[in-house]
Structures are given as structure tokens and as C-alpha cells.
Amino acid sequence: MATLLVGTPKGQHWLTVEGAQSLREALEETEARVPTACGGVGTCGACVVRVVSGQTNPPTAAERRKLTGEERARGLRLACQLRVEDDLEIELEQPEKPTSWVSIPLEELPPWPGLRPVAGPASYGVAVDLGTTRIRVSLWDRRQGRRIASCSGPNPQEVFGADVLNRVSTAQKDPQRGLELAGLARGAILKAIGTILAQELGDSGVQPAEIGRIVVVGNTAMLALLTGTGLPALLDPAQWQRAIDISPGDPSAWQADWHLGRAEILLPAPLAGFVGSDLLAAVVGTGLLEGPAGSLLVDVGTNTELALWDGSVLHVSSVPGGPAFEGAGLRFGLPAGPGAIAHVLPCPEGEGFTCETLGGLPPRGFCGSGLVDAVALLLGAGLLKASGRFSRPAEPGGYPLDPAISQSALSAGDVDTFQRAKAAQASAMEELLELAGLGWRDIRRLCVCGAFGRSLHVGHAQAVGLLPPVEEQRIELHGHAALAGCEWALLATDANAVLAEVASRARLVNLSLIPGWEDRYMAHLRLAPIPLESCRRVSP
């Protein structure tokens, strides 16, 4: 038994730790839990802590890789690698932020026209986009066809790892953890509904009993974790191109759980193991199938999903790019939320850069759009080369975009993580175009959804080769496309049919089975604009 003293900005905690476990595990059940993106295997470096006093195991190979000698000398360790065997005093470097729900401005969602009024007592409805890192929820008055409020908040399952398969294998190995994961997601959805009902509407608002329908979309893994079904299939690649059953089983248990006795709970079927109902919803939300041939949708995330409409077939695929665009796996990175650097700008007076954060809070690290800005500006200033190497050897802590802020530093490892994520995304877009017989120049609409929200600087994304250099007016940034599509399904008479219609047009492509895809990936690793000639229309 050991005693643990944990210092956080909010004060000190005393803990008693029984048996040999990692510090991360010891903190997991407490308020002082540490962030993780890799599920605790030492690959993401997100769980940095400082040892103030006490005997510890020597740094592991993973720590020698993630922390510089200078950082280790300061007592920095990775909580997932540190075993608590003796009394220990530590300080959290990046304490997990408290759960926070924020409103989605209504102008960021489409004004859905032509609604069919719904009669009856339970005429309110809720649309839910259950994302790997964020959950988005809208409340609708289906009788008047009016959106009442929308909000978003972090997915509390994040503590189990940003890597979705990590969470799935956790749930699969340990049924107790599986129940816990499902409980977290159900609890978060309930909390979002409660937030909307209480904060947005006050006491005079809608009562839970008046909610008659809930539609949930998400990636297949999130839906499987939510319902506790389909988990073995998700870990078997032979199943990934088939439909996976994620039906909620007995809905009355959920209705009771959520105190929503009248709510019809709908989970439209995902397309396959690696393409969820969220992508189908995003296709609806962006009106992709109503657009011209050459409309490409990219839903950016840890697993980036893509859909290309060629006028008759919707070519659909996904590519694991890693969680860089969601701010994980970086030395200083966090999902788009308060305190995240979302924009980096060159100083008007010439030298240097300034960092703008979401919510105007002190910077705590980069989210995806800030990372794109930082890489593009350093490249443009000649401080970074196309190979991804810094022109001058980087400082041990990385290159600070704003020297006054240590969390604005970009390390060589961050650039590497970025390069691999952007190469995965660009090569997947290219492969999909090629398969459809199209080229980069044939893109009429490029709808960018997901992790970047609407903060992405398109010019910067083009300069580093994340997006193709097509005319900028063809590129659209959608903040909440999957939620918008889910709303449309919520309002339709038959919610499942809306997404099933999209699924019926889809043709699945598994990139890892296409020979030559890796060559494209390698070619896209350099930090340089995508050559439009690298993919041409192959048929007239």
C-alpha cells in the first residue's frame, strides 16, 4: 500500500494505492485523472506528470522516446509508465479539463425547409451525433418544425483512449469495462439532453415526457460500444466491409434509463465496420447527392471517412490517419475546445506569430486547425523544410510559435505525426478519385467536415498538402454535418429510410486492400502542395 499526494491547479488530493498499478490507473477513478490518447501504452505522451518526491521505477523505453533528457531531469514522467510502489508526490502537468457543454450557434446548422408537422403529445425530438471525441445534440419541436437548441460536449469515453479500437478491445476483454463504456456514452447523451432542457430553456421548457423520438448516429465502433453489440465483429477485418448489427436490443431499458418513457429510440444502421451512420448522415447534411458529379466529402478525425459522389455512385472509404487533427498524440495538443490554439497568425509588425485560442482562454495546446496553421507558417517562413525537418535543430521543448507561451511549442515529433495524418488523408482522397475515374481538377465541391470545424485556414491546408489546390470557393467547411443529417432523419417520417437511401447508393472501398495505395501515401508525406496532375481523369 502506498500513499499518493497529487497536486493540481485546483488543490491537492491524497490517495491510497493498493497493489502495483500504473499511476494512470490509480488516477483514473479520481478527479485528478490524466488525459490519454493511446489507452495507456506509452505511445501518445499525453499523460505527462512531474514527480516531486518519492522512489519510482526507472524511465521505460517509451518514456525515453517521448521525453527529452532535460525533461526527465526535471522529473517529468508518463503516468501510464510509472508504477506506484512507494509513497509518491506528483504534480499534474496537463490536468484533464472538466466536462463542459457548449451551445452550437444555430447559424452553424442548415435551416431545414419543408417539414412534415408531427401531431400528438410527444412531439419533441432529439438528434444525436455520437462522435469519438465529441457528442453533438439538437432538440427539435417537430410540431412546429423548429430547432430549439443544439449543444456539444466531450465524449467521456475519451479517458479510455482516442483510438477507437483500443476502446473496443477494452470492452471486449473486460465485460465490466464494456458496461462502463456503454454507461458513459448513455450518460453523456442524457446529460446533453438535460443540459438543453435545463440551461437552454429554463424551467418553463419542454418536459422529458414530451420527447417522442431520439435518433443517434455515430461511427460503428461508438454505436457498438453504446449498445454493447457487434464488438467481436469490429475486431475482425473480415467483417469490416459487411454490415454490423448494432441494434439497441430492448429499447424499454433505455427509455427507463433515460427517463424518456415515450421516446422511440432509433439507431439507423451503419454502412459497415469502418463506415458509420455518421458518414451517411453527413452526406445528407451536406446535400452531397443533390450536388454535381465530383462532390467529395471528407469527415476528418482519428479515422477519416470519405465519400465521393460521381453522379451515380457514392464511393465510400475510410483511412486511419491517427488522432493528430483531433489534437491528440501531440506534445501539446487538445481537441477543439476552450483554450485550444485554433488559429496562428503572422504578427502584423513582421517577425513572429500570435496564437488565438477558442474562448479567448490562455493557450493550453493546439487543436487541428491551429496545428495546420503552425506547420504552414513555419514552412512558409523557411523554419521548416518540406521533409518535415526544422532548418535549425529544434530546441528540446520544440519550436515555440509564441516564445512567451511554452504550450505553443511544436516539436519535431508533432510535425511527423502531422505529416503521417495528412498523407493518409490526401492519399485516400486521391485513391478514391482515381477509382471513380476522376482527377483532382474534377472536384466541384469539397466538403470538409469533422475535427477542424469551421476554423480551418484553407490556404494553409493547401500549402502543406492537406487539401488540393482547387479554387477556394469549391471548398466548404462544415462544422456539424453529421448532426445536420441526423436532424433531417429525425424530422422525416421514416428516419431509418433516409440513411438507408444513402447507403443504397454507396460502394465500399477498403484502401488497405488496394495495391499501390502505399505509394501514394509515401508521395504525400512531404510538406508541399498536392500536384493537381498527380491524379487525372482517366475516362472522358
Binding site: 489507452g39 501504452v41 506509452g42 505511445t43 521505460t60 523505453a61 517509451a62 522516446r65 527529452t68 533528457g69 479500437l165 483500443n166 478491445s169 475486431l235 475482425d236 477485418p237 473480415a238 486511419p320 523544410k385 518540406a386 521533409s387 518535415g388 525537418r389 529544434a394 528540446p396 516539436s411 519535431a412 515529433g413 510535425v415 511527423d416 505529416q419 503521417r420 498523407a423 477498403n510 488497405s512 486492400l513 502505399e518 505509394d519 501515401y521 509515401m522 508521395a523 508525406l525 512531404r526
Partner: protein
């Protein structure tokens, strides 16, 4: 251009991961009268080794640069191999693939490229390869080494991956005939993991995999 200058400009191109520039140097070297054999053994292999060791010493190991360097080496080697005056002498043969349940093909791809430039014949079994397929292919192609890539903890340590390959080799009395090497992210973070799952060796990157595998081949080959 002198040999020294060719080497220097080729090194620069590789270090800058500039494939077009590297190809331009190779063309210049051919014009200067270097043979394809000389280009591979005096330019490509030493430049790749130098660059890889520089990258490996970096505190932040940059995989993107590692990938690009290996890709240039593999493409130039393939181009030159077509022009060799006689077929190159093959050092040995490796069957390679990703483990059951794992579709991450890039690591395997890098190792294959490095092995080719070291004159090792590579039979690529693709992704999501069952333990039975690994053993059958090693027998069929008369290989010396079975190389298994796993990028996820659950596929590296799973019972259908390397562990099962070891069991099959044991039960079929083939352990003297083949060596098993593993690679991938989980092994970089736990350097003893390869032993726990029954492999003979592991390697952290393409170049060291090349060295380890050529040693393994020499250990088995009569």
C-alpha cells in the same frame, strides 16, 4: 561530377527526402559511367544507412522521413536491378505480412523495400495473414525467415498472431528451419515483448530489420 560529389548530392537529396532530386543524381551517375551495381552498393545502400542512422539519433524519431528515405531507396534499387548485367545473387528469402486482424501495411512495406536493396528476396503475403498462411508460404517458397508486422497491441499479442505461428512451427517440427521476426509500434514500446509472444527477434525500423534478418538468414541457411 566526381564520385565524391555524386555521393554528396545524392545524400543531400535523400536527407531532404526529395525523390525527384535523388533520381536526377542517379541519372547523372549513369551518364558518368557508374554501373547499376555500383549505384546500388556505393550510393544507395550507404546513403540510406547514413540517413537512417541520423534519423534514429534524433530524439523525436521521425517516421515520415524514415518512410520517405526507404521509399527512395527501394524505388532506385528496383530501377537499377532491372539494369543489372546479371541477375543479382540472392542472399535468402523472407515471407512477410501483417498479423491476423491487422490491416496496417506501411511498416511491412518499408521493411520489404530495405530488404530488396540488401538483395533479400521478399514474398509479400499482404495484410491480415493467418498463422497457417505464414507457415504454408514459408514452406512453399523455401524461405528462411517469417516476418510478422503488427501495429496494434491486440494484434501483436493476440493468440492468432506470432504466438500461433510459433505453435505451428513447434507442432510441425519446423523450428530448426525457420526464424520468426516481428516488428511494429508495440515492440518499440516494450523491448521484451517479442520474447513473450515467441519470436526469435524484433527490429525497430527498416534498416535494422535488414541487418537482423540477414543475420537470421545466415543462421539458418546451410
Amino acid at each position: 561530377m566526381s564520385r565524391a560529389e555524386l555521393f554528396r548530392t545524392y545524400m543531400e537529396a535523400v536527407f531532404d527526402t526529395d525523390k525527384a532530386a535523388a533520381f536526377a543524381v542517379v541519372r547523372a551517375a549513369l551518364e558518368e559511367g557508374m554501373t547499376p551495381e555500383q549505384i546500388v552498393f556505393e550510393l544507395v545502400v550507404p546513403a540510406t544507412e547514413d540517413t537512417m542512422s541520423a534519423i534514429t539519433k534524433d530524439p523525436d524519431a521521425n517516421l515520415a522521413q524514415h518512410f520517405m528515405t526507404a521509399q527512395i531507396a527501394s524505388e532506385v534499387t528496383e530501377w537499377m536491378l532491372e539494369r543489372f548485367s546479371q541477375p543479382p545473387e540472392i542472399l535468402g528469402r523472407v515471407v512477410i505480412g501483417t498479423s491476423s486482424g491487422d490491416l496496417h501495411s506501411l511498416g511491412k512495406r518499408i521493411v520489404s523495400g530495405c530488404l530488396k536493396s540488401l538483395m533479400v528476396d521478399v514474398i509479400d503475403l499482404g495484410v491480415n495473414v493467418s498463422a497457417e498462411q505464414f507457415v504454408e508460404a514459408a514452406l512453399k517458397h523455401d524461405a528462411q525467415v517469417i516476418a510478422i508486422s503488427s501495429m496494434m497491441v491486440h494484434t501483436a499479442t493476440g493468440e492468432n498472431g506470432c504466438q500461433k505461428v510459433r505453435k505451428l512451427l513447434q507442432s510441425q517440427g519446423l523450428e530448426g528451419q525457420f526464424r520468426v521476426i516481428v516488428g511494429g509500434a508495440p515492440f518499440r514500446f516494450d523491448e521484451e515483448l517479442y520474447q513473450k509472444i515467441g519470436a526469435d527477434a524484433w527490429a525497430a525500423d527498416g534498416i535494422s530489420a535488414g541487418k537482423v534478418i540477414t543475420d537470421l538468414i545466415r543462421g539458418v541457411k546451410p
